[in-house]
Symmetry: C2
Subunit: 312 residues, 2 copies
């Protein structure tokens, strides 16, 4: 399947009965603080608490009968795992989810709550991949990777279709980049709109997408140590091919800036978002020369925090 | 002015240009947990982060020109103070706010952000009243108390008018009780509806409303020590007169139950609410015999937390 605007529109129709059409939130205080008009797409209010429900649901609904029969499997730092478990439950098949030991407990519990089977591994990409390969062999399950997959990228892109239809005359889109599923899908949608520039927001402590984008060569492994647990993944291959052609820039922020932005979203918007979601607002605050006086669409990607383990 | 349904409808019209018409939030997970259909009125998304904007705005807009001239004054554990400062700013007059030293810093900062003058005192009712009397004498300001006041009670009642119009066939309303402004106003509105029972939700560690309701004699002073900082006030006189005639019951919950409910609201609804707001859900969980299989309207009263000082 080709990853283009029409495929994303079709995916939106395919998944619409199974996901939330999330609202746009605004805050005059945050607009005043940033000197921009900010429009927050509330994907933390999405099913399973993150935009990941879109890609996972699209991928599962697109499986053939024979691909479905033994269930699906993935590795995930959490949100894709819960989303895939939920999508598998919709069609009544098993889901095997490989999760790094250091993933947050709330995310693991969410996977289990949808009937997913949680299998723990080390946090390195190598351990994730080896454990997943073993699971796939054992159960003959179909792998649905968290981001480096056509149907997943297409599904995540539906976020941008909605956001652009909800807010007229956007000039900037800012989404977090981890594996690059959301950023790739968003950039394909935005390519339709001449005046919309797309930025990836990335923790400086997990800067593989930044380095890949700057050098033109994908960084294939790194040792991320950021508080933004959803962004510790490594930029995908397919994702990088799309991102390097369609994204305006990747912008870095520190973990301190992420925590500060998270507090602002909590206290001003009164919304519980995870650190990975706050990377976006941190970026808008850090780079006023890019966002001042612009109409900025921001994706609040997820809200799956562990209240017993907060960064403040 | 008489405190009745019509006065509350009129107040709703008076303040509507200056407050948010807040949405209703739902959660299938919380419905499953409680065995009830829960409808959360999102007053933590109200202007200044709490329903208190309603009563304060109504009271200020109702002042005569001569009452306005030297500004307004109050004592408040925080949210009424910010709401009054904001209301005063709308009409361009000063606001003097007496705040207990142990009130949370975010609430004090909010008062200042609306141009209110913060005056600190001890946390006892006696100290609050003495300090306020001094401020009123010094500035010749008009007192707008946080709850024991006709226009304030009427203004808070507008929450229930909206909630009932947003959700058909409610059978229970649950609101926190501190001074009793919201509970009194809510009970007057609900008295119009035969099938709606109204409950006050109160921390066991600040049980003056419960004891007053049980004995029929208002408890005039107590030493509250609950985490629910917005509910450390003492039940008002006018409030008690209305509550004892119109409320079905006052129900108590422990601070542990409040914190548990607060975590549920944060992780399931993804909404930042303060402990005082979570007393409601804690009550629904604690008393299944009252709420099972009912359609329950719950007011999430405020979201002004200090992220550096959370109870978990």
């Amino acid at each position: 399947m080709k990853i283009d605007y029409d495929a994303i529109v079709q995916a939106g129709n395919r998944i619409s009965a199974h996901i939330n059409y999330t609202p746009i939130l605004t805050s005059s205080a945050l607009d005043a603080l940033t000197g921009a008009a900010l429009f927050f797409k509330a994907e933390h209010l999405q099913k399973a608490g993150a935009f990941k429900a879109r890609g996972a649901t699209n991928a599962v609904l697109n499986l053939t009968k024979s691909e479905r029969i033994n269930g699906v499997a993935t590795h995930s730092s959490g949100n894709h795992g819960a989303a895939l478990a939920r999508a598998a439950k919709i069609v009544g098949i098993p889901a095997y989810i490989v999760v790094p030991k250091n993933a947050n407990e709330i995310k693991k519990a969410a996977i289990a709550s949808y009937g997913g089977v949680v299998i723990e591994c080390e946090s390195t990409l190598e351990s994730r991949q080896a454990t997943l390969a073993q699971v796939i062999e054992e159960h003959a399950a179909t792998p649905i990777p968290p981001y480096d997959h056509e149907d997943v990228i297409i599904g995540q892109g539906t976020t941008a279709i909605e956001l652009i239809s909800q807010v007229p005359h956007l000039t900037r889109l800012v989404v977090p980049v981890g594996g690059g599923g959301l950023l790739a899908g968003t950039s394909v949608v935005a390519a339709r709109y001449e005046n919309v520039q797309v930025f990836g927001a990335e923790p400086a402590l997990a800067d593989d997408a930044y380095r890949s984008f700057q050098s033109g060569v994908r960084v294939k492994s790194h040792a991320p140590d950021t508080i933004a647990d959803g962004l510790r993944t490594t930029l995908g291959e397919l994702n990088f091919e799309i991102i390097k052609d369609n994204v305006t820039d990747i912008l870095l922020v520190s973990d301190d800036e992420i925590v500060h932005a998270m507090k602002l979203i909590w206290t001003r918007l009164k919304q519980v978002v995870e650190p990975s979601a706050a990377v976006t607002l941190a970026t808008v605050i850090r780079y006023p020369e890019i966002f001042n006086n612009e109409r900025v669409g921001i994706v609040l990607t997820g809200g799956n925090i562990d209240p017993g383990n907060l960064p403040f």
